[in-house]
């Protein structure tokens, strides 16, 4: 006898399992190729498709903005997402599954660096095309990348080291102001500092050095906090770093030569997408290596039991100070990029509000995890852009979401995992491995 419901259920399960199987058998490079295909479809056919689906223009941020503003366009937007993103990604990753696996297997034999470069190159090309369609996308993309850097760098302190630091906006401000001052002084003709001291053409090439200078300024600021606060354990850092945040903000407001409360503007346009992308990749790579090094292991030991770590020959004080400065350095670099993305900074953008945002991203994504930081930064950033049409209700929905995450996964979504690029890039079919 046939029981229709039974077969139906099995069918459903079958589809789900097949999708799962399929997803597990496509290597990372296959997904990247699919994404590339989707972006190409959008790039060349986007206008046409959106015209036939009755949309006024290409949905900028996966249709969130359109849907929230004009609910009548929901079917069109969903259709657009399916046609432009869903289908190409599925089809390409399906048809290129075998070659992609072969390619991944080939890359896995060579050095990791080359494999990583190929993956990143492909990913960057897709992102570049994706962002090419609108300036808004470009801005969101850059800010998301900067948020990833900030989240990672605070995860080193709050997650891997297990302290509660509140001064990240302060470090960011130090980096932003140092970098802006240098570029405005050296490479730009502006009202604040007069004519450029160096030829303007040099600017983009020396910009990495400027960013490093910003990072060093932030790291020196961190030293000021670290020396007194790591003498005792506990919540001491929370308060000192908070006081530091107030001091930095107020100091900048009082320094007339960097514009005081009015801030600095007209920074040269150095934070291009490739620049931000390269710095972000470097940041992920270096931080990932740092937390997996002996130093990183020592750091976890200090967090879990300082006394035991000390007796195992870990120099706890040195470890903590270096780590704190390291985290601050990357926050400073991110701040420098931030200033040159918006091309305007004022002390108001580095206050308590920004602190809440950064803390939200790191605790949402997950402590002690590079993957978690990336996920947290991307999701909170995209969410807060996507929910923009809801105006202030956005700031009820995002905190509620975060509270729910905290209640059900108190350490964040993806916590305590290691980020292994080699694992990510390996081929996904058993026969092709090795």
């Amino acid at each position: 006898m046939d029981i229709p419901g039974h077969t139906l259920q099995r069918d459903k399960k079958g589809v789900k399992a097949r999708l799962k199987n399929f997803a597990a058998s496509v290597p990372l490079i296959g997904w990247f190729l699919g994404f590339m295909g989707a972006v190409l479809v959008e790039y060349f056919l986007g206008d046409l498709i959106s015209y036939y689906l009755g949309l006024p223009k290409i949905p900028v941020l996966f249709g969130f903005l359109t849907v929230l503003k004009r609910p009548l366009l929901i079917p069109g937007t969903v259709g657009y997402l399916l046609v432009v993103y869903g289908l190409p990604i599925l089809i390409i990753s399906k048809f290129l599954q075998k070659p992609a696996n072969k390619l991944a297997g080939f890359l896995a034999k060579g050095p990791v660096t080359i494999a990583a470069l190929v993956h990143l190159g492909l990913f960057y090309a897709a992102l570049h095309l994706w962002a090419d369609l609108s300036d808004y996308r470009l801005l969101v993309l850059k800010l998301t990348m900067i948020a990833i850097m900030l989240t990672l760098s605070i995860n080193v302190i709050n997650g891997y080291m297990g302290e509660f630091s509140c001064s990240h906006p302060g470090f960011m401000a130090l980096g932003a102001y140092t970098a802006s001052t240098i570029t405005l002084l050296l490479f730009a003709n502006d009202k604040q500092f007069g004519d450029a001291l160096l030829p303007e053409a040099l600017g983009p090439y020396l910009f990495p050095l400027v960013l490093i200078a910003g990072g060093i300024a932030a790291a020196l600021g961190a030293l000021v906090i670290a020396v007194p606060s790591f003498r005792t354990r506990g919540d001491y850092l929370a308060i000192i770093s908070l006081a530091f945040l107030f001091i930095v903000k107020s100091l900048i407001e009082n320094l007339e030569f960097v514009g005081g409360p009015r801030g600095m503007s007209s920074q040269p346009h150095y934070s291009t997408l490739p620049m931000v992308f390269i710095v972000m990749v470097l940041c992920i790579w270096i931080i990932n290596n740092f937390v997996r090094s002996t130093m990183g292991k020592a750091l976890n030991a200090v967090r879990d039991n300082e006394l035991a770590a000390e007796s195992m020959t870990v120099n706890t004080r040195k470890t903590k100070i270096i780590t704190f400065m390291f985290g601050a350095f990357w926050a400073g670099v991110a701040g420098g990029l931030f200033a040159h993305v918006l091309r305007y900074v004022n002390p108001g953008s580095f206050g308590i509000q920004r602190l809440a945002e950064i803390l939200a991203m790191v605790y949402f994504g997950g402590l002690n995890s590079v993957t978690g930081s990336i996920v947290g930064a991307v999701s909170i950033n995209i969410l807060s852009e996507a929910l923009r049409p809801l105006e202030i209700y956005k700031w009820i929905i995002i905190p509620l979401l975060l509270i729910l995450v905290m209640l059900f996964r108190p350490t964040g979504l993806i916590a305590f995992t290691e980020f292994k690029p080699k694992e990510l890039m390996k081929p996904r079919q058993k026969s092709l491995e090795g």
Binding site: G162, T232, G234, I239, F246, S250, L367, I392, M406
Partner: protein, 307 residues
């Protein structure tokens, strides 16, 4: 000399807000070893509740024609809004802190922070962006002692906050509940085994802290009558600094540090250009903490992060 005394009076007034708010931080910290980052916004909510109660009472007077004197309305306002705001505190404990008692401590701090944001935005969504004027319940009068001018509001603010602190002190030292709270702050993992329920003590702590914050909110509304949804942020974080400065978990320390912070801010603004207030005030605090890492009355103990 007159200016000096005048600034002492101003510092007392400004410090009593910090002290009242810092008490809430400190009490929660002493019992649960957690920061309640929503506390600054509880202060804001308390102020708004006070506004609502005062408006309702004034409306009642206007409607019925029963001539209630201003001071009675003020006392009723303070009492009613302390009562109502304590439920806000208990709600925060129930939703954000009780489920996370065994989680990493930072998680509870984040829920607190997020509840704070929800309170701010919720207020903005319900009442809109207009700023409300706190009703003036008492006629202002100025007295002159030598060259020092003291308004009756200043006396009222300092008096009420000192009175509340005294009551809190008596409550904690003399009552059975206070004894339970003291025991809990000694060791919140063992004391529940002795029959003191942490599920009663923790809400009580949050309720008392929130009630004090509400009183601070009303007094603040008397002195600076314009209310806005974000008024709790800066005041709250600064009071948090005061709570730590006083020694983590020390009630007396929190009150003293609150007043000290008020004095420092007022005097810095008097001696230096007022825009430098935060730089110098917080540098002084950094210095104090460098030499006395545990605050004024804190004990030297290390806390292990429960990660």
């Amino acid at each position: 000399m007159d200016l000096f005394l005048q600034n002492i009076v101003n510092g007392l007034q400004w410090g009593s807000f910090y002290a009242l708010i810092a008490l809430g931080y400190s009490m929660v910290y002493s019992i649960l070893m957690l920061f309640n980052f929503a506390h600054g916004d509880v202060f804001m909510v308390g102020s708004y509740i006070g506004f609502g109660v005062a408006t309702a009472l004034l409306g009642f007077v206007a409607l019925t024609g029963i001539p209630l004197p201003g001071w009675l309305i003020l006392i009723l306002t303070i009492l009613f809004s302390m009562f109502f705001t304590s439920f806000v505190g208990m709600f925060i404990e129930r939703v954000g802190y009780r489920p996370l008692r065994d989680a990493p401590r930072a998680s509870a701090a984040i829920t607190g922070l997020m509840i704070g944001i929800i309170l701010e935005t919720g207020n903005l969504a319900i009442l809109g962006a207009r700023r409300l004027r706190f009703p003036q319940l008492v006629e202002s009068a100025t007295y002159q002692f030598g060259g020092v001018y003291v308004t009756n509001k200043k006396i009222l603010i300092v008096g009420v906050s000192l009175g509340l602190m005294f009551l809190l002190h008596r409550f904690i030292q003399k009552t059975k509940w206070g004894m339970a709270m003291r025991a809990m702050s000694f060791d919140f993992q063992v004391v529940p085994l002795m029959g003191v329920s942490i599920n009663k003590i923790a809400p009580l702590t949050f309720a008392i802290g929130s009630a004090l914050a509400s009183a601070a909110g009303i007094l603040y509304g008397l002195a600076y009558p314009v209310l806005d949804p974000y008024m709790g942020i800066l005041l709250g974080w600064k009071a948090f600094v005061a709570a730590i400065l006083g020694g983590r978990g020390s009630i007396l320390g929190a009150a003293l540090a609150g007043f000290l912070l008020g004095f420092i801010e007022i005097f810095v603004a008097w001696i230096f250009p007022s825009t430098l207030r935060d730089v110098i005030a917080y540098s002084i605090i950094l210095l104090i903490l460098t030499f006395r890492p545990h605050g004024f009355f804190g004990q030297a103990h290390s806390t292990q992060l429960r990660l």
